[in-house]
Amino acid sequence: MSAGSLAAILQPRRRTRREVLRDWIRSRRPANSWPALVGLAGFAAMLGLQQLIEPGTQRLVTAVFLFVALAQAWNLIGGYTGYASFGQVAFFGLGAYTVAVLMNNYHISFWLAMPVAIVAGVLFAVLIGVPLLRLRGHYFAIATLGAAEGLREIVNNATPITGGGLGITIPTFGDQVPTPYFGKPGFYLAFLILAAASVAACALVARSRFGYAMVAVHEDEEAAGAVGINTTLVKVVAFALSGAIVACAGAFYAFQQIEFYPTDVFDASFTVLMVIMVMIGGSGSIAGPLVGAVGLELLSQFLRVNLGTYNQLIFGAIIVLVVVFFPQGVVNYFREAVRTRRFSILDNVRRYRL
């Protein structure tokens, strides 16, 4: 048997696009389509929720949607691929400033500026990803943190273009408005779609061949390379995907804020929140960052409103307690507990202690 025919045997049977679609529809079962259905139901519920709440409350919920998108994006590189970036806020600030500079200096429409922001995010991810993704663990974390701080200083000092430390304002009134302001209901919709799109994108990526490659790189990079995965490519693409989502979120955030300063959109606490949300929810899953982002953002808003000066103290204490009791993340804990029927939290604590 010649090598050519062996390859022919190993090739899957060629199918037309219609056959692929038909097979896909036939393969749908409640067991494999419930996440999509739950997602659609959640999306519809959020659309309905908008009709019930006031614009002021809508603004608070908008922040939840923003963090859902950011947490999902961080999970791609930090959770699935295992490279915990502490500089994702660089993409956020880059997206925000790209949109603001284009809209303010060149009067370009938001809908044109936003894709440019995404492209800028991807380019920056490739630029810093290629050298930095060779590092691992804490070293990758500090290097990306440094990159974010460096980018902030560049924006801070490029005063002729960005306005520097004095901040930048997106024109929202007058004759020459590039895009009319969305208002609170408009931004509720915009951030809802952003969040839904990032969840859907991450879910699709995670279940694709590429998603398995990311997990393989996380589990054992040498072994992944040995079975023919181009680990550098996988890491850079995962980083760029994550950066694209964060840059897009930054673009919307910039337009929502209208006026902001480099210290606002390059605030390292955005990165820290992304990491905390993913870690507490459970990294390496779609539900984890979702639960983490919704839970923590609602909790922090609740504490801010009801506990006044004590809110940060309580917030920190809750982080400590959740980390101690659910080191693998809340979602991963419950998933395992349901499967093994062992719900003891004390046993869970014992697993990771010294």
């Binding site: 691992r136 000092n157 202690r353």
Partner: protein, 295 residues
């Protein structure tokens, strides 16, 4: 030229001070592979303790150092034994998250008690300086720098010459093997963290003496500086933080002279990233720890 020398001299004394902040951070990172986000918070806690002793008891900050060190050691020991040891086997970023939460608790607690005002410990000598040729050397910073060097050498001696130091080193190299040799890893980790907390407290006292501190901006800056210096100097060598701190201090001080505005911050980060790409083990770090870098 005089200006340049002055900047270099300031860089050396400032670098010594920052080295004192970083040495405990580097020790904890090297031994336990824990990046301690609450290091800055511990330093500020020490600073408040010394400030309190100075204002209410009238104790000189240099005399307050032993009290601060003992109190901070106890505090650090309890934190490690009671909290961090619980998640030491979990993925590495959990310890980072835990210490981040801890730092929120400590700093907001301090803020509730002491308010967020800038504080400083007033002494008659800290702001005085003497002239060395064309260069002015401030007494306070010089003393802090000398103290940093003495403490670093002392720590290196403890690590290399005593049973405790050997136990800490062994646990850092291979915890399983160390436990088989009868070393109580829980206790050793707690002692290591206690030492780091004590050193952070001493550093905080010095910062409060030569400058000012507050519970909102100082801790984050100190943690970041400690992180950068540890990477720059390299892990696994007690002198790493000292070398990294001096290089960092001089680079920042001379950079501040040559560059305008806030560009100096960008340069510091560029130096850091260049170090990581070209020589990830740091300037004098041990190769054994480069296993964790895994380039």
């Amino acid at each position: 030229m005089a200006q340049f020398l002055q900047a270099a001299a300031y860089g050396v004394v400032q670098g010594g001070l920052l080295a004192l902040v970083a040495v405990g951070f580097s020790l904890v990172w090297g031994v336990m592979n824990v990046v301690n986000f609450s290091h800055g918070a511990l330093a500020v806690t020490g600073a408040y303790l010394a400030w309190f002793l100075n204002v209410h008891v009238g104790l000189d900050p240099f005399l307050a150092i032993p009290i601060v060190a003992v109190a901070m050691f106890a505090f650090g020991y309890v934190i490690q034994r009671g909290l961090i040891n619980l998640v030491i086997n979990a993925p590495i970023f959990l310890t980072l998250l835990l210490t981040f939460g801890l730092s929120l608790v400590i700093l907001n607690g301090l803020q509730l008690v002491f308010k967020s005002d800038d504080r400083t410990i007033d002494t008659s000598y800290a702001s005085q300086s003497f002239a060395l040729g064309a260069v002015n050397v401030p007494y306070g910073r010089l003393a802090a720098c000398v103290l940093a060097i003495v403490i670093t050498v002392g720590l290196a001696l403890v690590m290399n010459r005593t049973r405790l130091g050997h136990a800490i080193g062994a646990t850092g190299m291979d915890r399983g093997a160390a436990r088989l040799m009868g070393i109580r890893a829980r206790h050793i980790y707690a002692v290591t963290f206690g030492i780091a907390a004590a050193l952070a407290g001493i550093a905080g006292t010095m910062i409060a003496t030569v400058g000012s501190f507050n519970p909102t901006t100082t801790p984050g800056q100190l943690t970041l500086d400690a992180f950068v210096i540890s990477v720059l100097g390299g892990l696994g060598n007690m002198y790493g933080a000292l070398v990294g701190g001096l290089v960092f201090g001089i680079a920042e001080s001379i950079g501040g002279l040559l560059l305008t505005g806030t560009w100096v911050n960008a340069i510091a980060m560029a130096v850091l990233i260049a170090t990581l790409i070209i020589r990830p083990t740091g300037l004098i770090g041990k190769a054994q720890y480069s296993g964790r870098v895994e380039v």
